[in-house]
């Protein structure tokens, strides 16, 4: 059974308690605790001992998406506490001012491919450079970002062919032209199905779609359908 769940940031921005309440009683076996803004990191790390995560078989942690260089060392110290829990820590490549320092997180470091807005990390060749610097890092494949960068899914295919063995988890949503995370439309589902055969079947799915609580289960079903290799429509790029 594939682990699937939501990012707390998608459901309730920085209010991780509210997000966890929204997920209670839903078909979620996974959760990603998000501290997308730098100022959210300390409070979230401080609360980790007090969160009831017993319903989740898989837990990951999203580091701030932008980190001021002067705070990078502090952020790393906090994330080292998270790493002690053996959770994957999702990091945006452009958030690291001194990438080599991040090797301290070891195999818990999980680099995410980026959307169009970001200066690096969108393509297979970008990621190649990053993993050269951080050879022990794992990979969070954001299929929505990959589709936004190249709707034909050729780049997604190239990324998957190069880095599928590093994949630790998936980010799934429809990323719109403003780089916001929308619910999965039929258009994005069809696109994802094109590369679903290249996605490791056991990679946990973390949804980043901004949904109402009532839409959580439906969105999970859409994501599972989009990544089911049995429903693959046409092969792109391989």
């Amino acid at each position: 059974m594939r682990y699937v769940g939501f990012s707390t940031g998608a459901l309730a921005l920085g209010d991780f308690q509210a997000a966890l309440q929204m997920l209670a009683g839903k078909n979620c076996s996974a959760v990603e605790l998000s501290a997308l803004r730098q100022e959210e990191l300390g409070p979230l790390v401080a609360q980790l001992d007090h969160l009831d995560l017993s319903n989740f078989r898989y837990v990951s942690f999203h580091a701030p998406s932008a980190i001021e260089p002067v705070f990078e060392a502090d952020v790393l110290r906090l994330l080292e506490q998270v790493a002690l829990r053996e959770w994957p820590i999702i990091v945006h490549p452009d958030a690291m001012s001194h990438p080599r320092e991040w090797a301290r997180l070891g195999q818990h470091l999980c680099i995410e491919n980026m959307d169009k807005r970001k200066p690096i990390g969108q393509t297979a060749s970008d990621l190649d450079c990053i993993f050269e610097t951080l050879p022990n890092a794992f990979f969070c494949f954001d299929i929505g970002h990959a589709r936004q960068v190249d709707p034909t899914m050729s780049e997604a295919s190239a990324i998957l062919q190069s880095f599928r063995d590093r994949i630790r988890q998936l980010h799934v949503s429809e990323v719109n032209t403003q780089s916001k995370h929308d619910c999965l439309s039929l258009e994005s589902i069809i696109a994802f199905q094109r590369v679903s055969h290249l996605v490791p079947v056991d990679a946990p799915i973390i949804l980043e779609s901004r949904v109402e609580e009532s839409e959580i289960n439906e969105e999970i079903q859409s994501a599972l359908a989009a990544l089911d290799p049995a429903t693959q429509l046409a092969v792109a790029g391989d």
């Binding site: 709707p151 999965l184 439309s185 258009e187 069809i190």
Partner: protein, 357 residues
């Protein structure tokens, strides 16, 4: 001066005639049913870049039991080969659900792209299909479901495009907006194109469906034209709009775009009703116009009458009882329109100035 008898409640009463009210309610239900059907079968069938748009009687809120379902999968985004798959999937589900497919011209029942609709206004690449999609998008369209961003963007872009070509949106004294001539001319052209195509279709289809097409030309197609003219005239006649004229050049155009957008959000019948109210058209004229139109919808909703019209050839039109009814109601309808456009002291001068020459 407005006729004292003409009031806001009188115009809303016009829309409350039984056949019009029933058709409106059924249309809203059918549109909701369509969204539910496609959401069940295909999930989120529209997206940020795509909207499902209906036209014709469903958009005008005049749905009758045997209406065609005219729809298009409107795309305003990057080229993507999956759009065809989605369009075909929509087509399949609608057909399986028993909706009457659009006519054979290919204008509806498939994809439409915003670029041509917005950029090709006039010129040799503005095909009949493109003109039809564009004008109907403005005057009789409605998006289905919640994802309407693409639809809204395209409508506003089309309105903007028309207004960009009008260099002076205000009169010389800057006291009122001028009639947007580019838009008006395209609406007039579209009406004439429909009339010419009526003859062309008669030839192409060996007279098949003549009676129904003729009835629609006399009533629903003419209604679209009249409502389009009134939208254009409203730029000059609307006191609220003209009361907001500012010295900021950008605001001048933006206010007109917003005004036209608000007007075309209404159905053609609502535009007529509002105009009757605003321009002091006598109650009797309003009642004639809406009474005749209600009778027309009643007739289309009656399967026997509809079939009689569908099977009627031009050669039998003078002796056919159903068509005689159509002719009678369309005369009443036209007389009422004549009164609005040629007698009403506010509208008639604009008809004279812009309607023909």
């Amino acid at each position: 001066m407005p006729d004292a008898k003409s009031t806001a409640s009188a115009s809303s009463n016009l829309l409350a005639l039984d056949p019009l009210r029933e058709a409106r309610q059924v249309s809203i239900t059918v549109r909701e049913d369509l969204d539910a059907l496609l959401s069940t079968k295909s999930g989120k069938y529209a997206s940020e870049d795509t909207s499902l748009v209906v036209f014709g009687s469903l958009a005008r809120e005049e749905w009758t039991s045997k209406s065609d379902l005219d729809w298009t999968y409107l795309i305003d985004g990057g080229a993507n080969s999956d759009h065809l798959k989605i369009s075909q999937e929509i087509q399949k589900h609608l057909k399986e659900a028993g909706y009457v497919e659009p006519g054979p011209t290919g204008i509806f029942g498939n994809m439409a792209f915003s670029h041509d609709i917005i950029h090709q206004i006039g010129g040799q690449f503005d095909t009949n299909k493109n003109t039809t999609q564009r004008i109907l998008l403005l005057l009789e369209s409605s998006p289905i479901g919640r994802r309407t961003e693409a639809y809204e963007r395209v409508i506003r872009a089309v309105i903007n495009r028309y207004l960009e070509e009008d260099v002076h949106p205000l009169t010389r004294d800057c006291k009122s907006y001028r009639v947007p001539r580019f838009l008006l001319n395209d609406i007039v052209r579209f009406w004439r194109t429909m009339a010419v195509d009526f003859a062309s279709k008669q030839r192409d289809r060996a007279g098949e469906g003549w009676g129904l097409r003729n009835a629609k030309l006399r009533m629903s197609r003419k209604l679209i034209f009249a409502s389009g003219l009134l939208v254009c005239f409203s730029a000059t006649l609307d006191t609220d709009l003209n009361g907001q004229i500012s010295t900021d050049k950008d605001a001048i155009k933006l206010k007109l775009v917003n005004h036209i957008r608000d007007r075309v959000r209404m159905t053609p019948l609502e535009i007529l009703a509002k105009s009757i109210e605003l321009y002091g058209v006598p109650d009797t004229t309003g009642k004639q116009l809406f009474g005749a139109y209600a009778e027309f919808l009643d007739l289309l909703n009656d399967q026997e009458s509809r079939n009689a019209l569908k099977g009627l050839h031009a050669s039998d039109s003078r002796t056919n009882a159903t068509f005689r009814r159509v002719r009678d109601m369309s005369r009443v309808f036209e007389n009422a329109l004549d009164h609005i456009f040629f007698v009403n002291p506010r509208v008639a001068p604009l008809t004279r100035k812009y309607g023909v020459f």
